[in-house]
Amino acid sequence: MANVLVTRSRNADIATSYLAAYAAQLVDKAIQMGHTVTDLYGSEVTLENFEAEIEAHNIFLGYGHGSKSIFLGSKINEHSEVLLKAGVNSNLLSGKKVNLTSCLTGITLGPKMVEETALEFYGYVGDWVFVYHPEYYPDRVLEDPYAQAFFDTALTTGCAVLSGKSPLEVFSETVARYEYWWNYWIRQEDVMADDILTWLNWDRKNFIAITPDGLYAPTVKAKAGNLLYLALPLSAALGFLIISDRMEK
């Protein structure tokens, strides 16, 4: 069993409200699986607390805002705490498995962690976008029919990591979950179905797994069930990420 650190940032915004609520389910699951879990939530998600805890844990599951090179904690006194910055304290993840459900951290922060000997990184090389239904926010976010597909898939990654799956298995299970929800929403008559499909596809395309041996990233797919994996050595992967980085500009 592993020592697991979870950070659930919580600000007065939609994204962290949803992320924190759904990630709480994964905390429960991790405890049920027999892991020892440290769950930092809301105002507890500070740099000081993160740096005090991370060394004693083998798995880090982070839920919050991010950019290419940083991952954020909660807002404290109107300023977001920077938990991780590439090249500054990203070496704290050495020897650990990391999953960040956030925007963009797969571009620079993730590769830097792995370069600094993190075992595995799972995250996104684009904005992680989701669709939600305002009538379910903020009191019933776990019942939101539009958001469920996005957050269920995000938790699939963390759950696979907690289960001790290999990087390819973690990657494949996450992509398969995106496929599952794609196949669900393609059959729905809901007026928002097309938007949900658009952003499920976007998130799936931007999901990435990085290990010292290489990375896994989906190729573009036209239809569900027609997915190919792109597996590259890390040297080539870094080239890929540089290309992605340029795409962002």
């Binding site: 669709v131 939600y132 007026v191 573009v220 239809k223």
Partner: protein
């Protein structure tokens, strides 16, 4: 990545407006899409009406929406 966004804007707008036509006014104004501002990392929430405006204006957010639509349509190999 260099895309001819002017060309694809027309294609994507046609699709978005077709969806929009099926929506009630309530749904058209409902903020349902959650993005992140790349500069401030604050969240941005768009309604279908606002998403169309972003694409029409060919803003950076509009380009992201166009790209996502094209990926879904299988029109984009990146």
């Amino acid at each position: 990545m260099s895309l001819d966004f002017n060309r694809y804007r027309t294609i994507v707008l046609q699709r978005m407006r077709a969806k929009w036509a099926q929506m009630s006014d309530y749904m058209r104004n409902l903020p349902t899409l959650v993005f992140q501002d790349p500069a401030t990392l604050e969240e941005i929430v768009l309604s279908p009406n606002q998403a169309i405006q972003e694409v029409e204006a060919l803003s950076e957010r509009g380009k992201q929406i166009i790209t996502a639509e094209l990926i879904k349509m299988g029109e984009l190999q990146i």
